[in-house]
Subunit: 467 residues, 2 copies
């Protein structure tokens, strides 16, 4: 089944309605973004201009000579309806409505939104928005995010898709994912979800070959049952990580005034989401932390975590964070302990967390990580490095880790707390060895939990198939 | 009372025992650090050399002609005792023992440590360590942190003191505080706490005029009652933020093998710490987040938080995080709402969180923040900025905030999620307006909670004085 959203996310021709060269205008920002990255045809539409950025500018979508797959609409709310009508007549199958002034702005806006939806459905135009930041599809270069490029980073093409009911939080996550170098497939700010909602988007991303992990920020859900069904179906193919906002009384009230959604009971949501295979995270940074781990590492086959560290205190905090999340820090098998005793100095700790001491060189990491990975009591390994230590050569460590990661099917997560030196080497290890690295034990614990959760979800699915 | 620790932290002359030019050696790193920052006299001591970095090198501490306040000792464990004896005979009043191989390494080490302590007390030499990263006193330039300067950042002089039972976590926090530009007074990694322990350090820092906030990472405490008394006394003068590790079963076990301390029951610790005026945080990043807020802003007089945001979703998450921490998001007073309605567009939300919309310029922030600050229902204000928005000029915002912060006695905390553009402008606002800025609502919530907690602690103290 080809999703009707294909026309939007794989559009080869885009009309920009409200295109402009006016500085600071949204119409200009969208034009600039598309011109710099989009691989298909771009048609500016604006009754005021003959040319925009040297491209012929049309008075109406209907005047465009060739086929148009998608219209990006950034005109005042009251003008949107007639543009949709034009789109319908021109057989444009998709529209991204950036314009605000609909349901989120009160009663009149809500009425306008109802009219918009019925008009769009009548004309068979799929709408994303209104009141949204738009779409960024990294692989095709479709970029309607109107934040200026000097303020807003855009990730390279990669495996993470992000569906966000909030444009602004989406912007923040775009920046953060860009900084990780992991890359993303699609970013979709869907605003008021007047037509296309979270359910339809997840259905699309579940089938999208470029997407390996689906991350979602949701405030409320339009069609609860269908949404859960979509999550269940998607999570059988790839991890779905969900941050549900509006957990508390005041948070839920703020949801109502933000996107006009009903936040509902968080406990009910959380239970239902987990039951249908979603990985539920508690806050914004965890959405990124979990998605990064799931994009880079295989799921864990169980909850037992081995820890290798050159800082005793960091090992303690890591154990605390993992155990608080319901994960296990098992005793290592006697043979692993015996082997560790052979390769580690006598004052090292061969219990789990394995403390290889502050003077550990990369070789000691190699030996200890290999042994702990092979331990049958261990499902996932956390490697903690304080790179400030003069004894540790992070480049040598990186080379060892590249080899280690290629020889194991157990997931590895790293922690490297520190400043610019640490960040530089962390980034190299993350990109070259494909091991997700976090700055704090608490962030890494979120990542480990996500890998363990997804492992459990996969096992549940495969055992229910066997029944 | 002049603390006997004065001689260590305000030393004017330092002997480096184990001084060396050997590349990669700890003795070299300490020499380099002191030479580059210490304002007093430096005496290398090493039986092997005549000169170290062009300074005369002595065979023993006893051979140094002038007065020596402090010895930094980085020789093998078995040689430390005779150095302490020399220090005693030379009347050196303080020693920082970097050397490992004591209690943390097993039974023999524990015996050696006992001997070390009785010898030091007999000779009236105060000891920090052994098995520690040492001390960094930014104001005097005393720097014994042996991590190389290209790997390890050192903060400028400033208000935060950090006492850490873990050297490695201390190193990470040094990096992080350096990145904030807030600065620190003293960093003390006290390792095994054989002689000087957390209690004595807190007593010293409570009286230290350069320290405005005391941050501590502790695993176990030697003298529980005295420690709590010290916390209580210190917290009457300045905030004391504590991260207690070893919360969980496996964390506590890891504590035992790390510094040989007893972690004890976390619930008991947490209760006692809070009762004595400590601000207890849950994880490593929170230790920094809370300390930063307390260093920059006054405590809050109550738990009622007003929120101003240009991103609705961020406002929702902020409300969720605050309410989860037991803080309140009050309704604004009718007169504030009426005034907000005058200055904000009609589709803005004048409820709390106040959503001033994605197209908010700096002026709209100025108007809304001023009104919310003045509301009698509000004790502290959180300002959320998505700086990716093309409508917002962060430099103009900074100028307004500088003025606003100078005219209010209520604390302000900011959130600015984003990438390098956002970080650059956030840093400017933090440094110039003195408003702590965080990347996520969850981090900012920790900061707000700390300001509210310290306000409550101050009120408790002042009401108990009046009784």
């Amino acid at each position: 089944m080809v999703s009707s959203l294909e026309k939007i996310f794989r559009a080869r021709s885009v009309a920009v309605v409200g295109a402009s060269e006016k500085k600071g205008s949204i119409g200009r920002a969208i034009m600039e973004n598309l011109l710099s990255s989009f691989k298909g045809s771009i048609y500016p539409v604006n009754i005021k201009y003959d040319k925009v950025f040297n491209l012929k500018c049309y008075k109406s979508v209907k005047d465009i000579p060739g086929q148009v797959d998608l219209a990006v609409i950034a005109v005042p709310a009251e003008a949107v309806l007639s543009v949709i009508k034009d789109c319908g007549e021109k057989e444009v199958k998709g529209a991204i409505v950036i314009s605000a002034g609909f349901r989120e702005s009160g009663k009149e806006g809500a009425e306008l939104e109802e009219k918009l939806v019925s008009l769009a459905r009548e004309h068979e135009v799929k709408i994303i928005g209104p009141n949204c930041l738009g779409v960024y599809s990294a692989h095709s270069g479709l970029d309607t995010i109107f934040n200026p490029s000097d303020r807003q980073a855009k990730p390279e093409p990669g495996p993470i898709a992000f569906v966000s009911q909030s444009g602004a939080l989406g912007a923040a996550l775009l920046d953060w994912i860009a900084a990780t170098n992991i890359g993303m497939s699609h970013f979709i700010s869907y605003g008021n979800a007047a037509d296309v909602d979270e359910t339809e988007l997840i259905e699309f991303l579940a089938e999208d070959p470029e997407t390996k992990v689906i991350a979602c920020y949701i405030e409320g859900v339009r069609r609860g049952r269908e949404f859960l069904k979509a999550i269940k179906k998607a999570s059988a193919k790839k991890p779905v990580v969900v941050l549900k906002a509006g957990k508390t009384t005041r948070g839920a009230a703020a949801v109502a005034s933000h996107t006009g959604s009903m936040a509902g009971s968080y406990k009910v949501y959380e239970g239902a989401l987990k039951q249908h295979g979603a990985i539920v995270v508690e806050d914004l940074k965890s959405l990124l932390n979990a998605s990064k781990a799931l994009a880079l590492q295989p799921p864990a086959k169980g909850p037992r975590v081995g820890i290798v560290t050159n800082g005793g205190g960091a090992g303690v905090l890591m154990a605390d964070e993992l155990e608080s999340k319901g994960l296990e820090i098992p005793s290592l098998s006697p043979s692993t302990v015996a082997e560790l005793e052979k390769v580690l100095p006598s004052s090292a700790s061969t219990a789990n967390p394995v403390d290889i001491l502050g003077d550990a060189p990369a070789e000691r990491y190699r030996d200890a990580v290999n042994l702990v990975l092979k331990d049958p009591n261990v499902d996932v390994v956390v490697v903690i490095t304080l790179m400030q230590s003069p004894a540790l050569n992070p480049k040598t460590l990186k080379d060892y880790l590249k080899r280690i990661v290629s020889e194991t099917d157990k997931p590895i997560v790293m922690v490297a707390p520190g400043g610019s030196y640490t960040e530089k080497h962390s980034s190299e290890i993350e990109v070259e060895a494909g091991i997700p690295i976090y700055k704090t034990p608490e962030d890494a614990a979120v990542a480990v939990k996500a890998l363990v959760d997804y492992g459990a979800i996969q096992q549940q699915i495969s055992s229910s198939k066997q029944e």
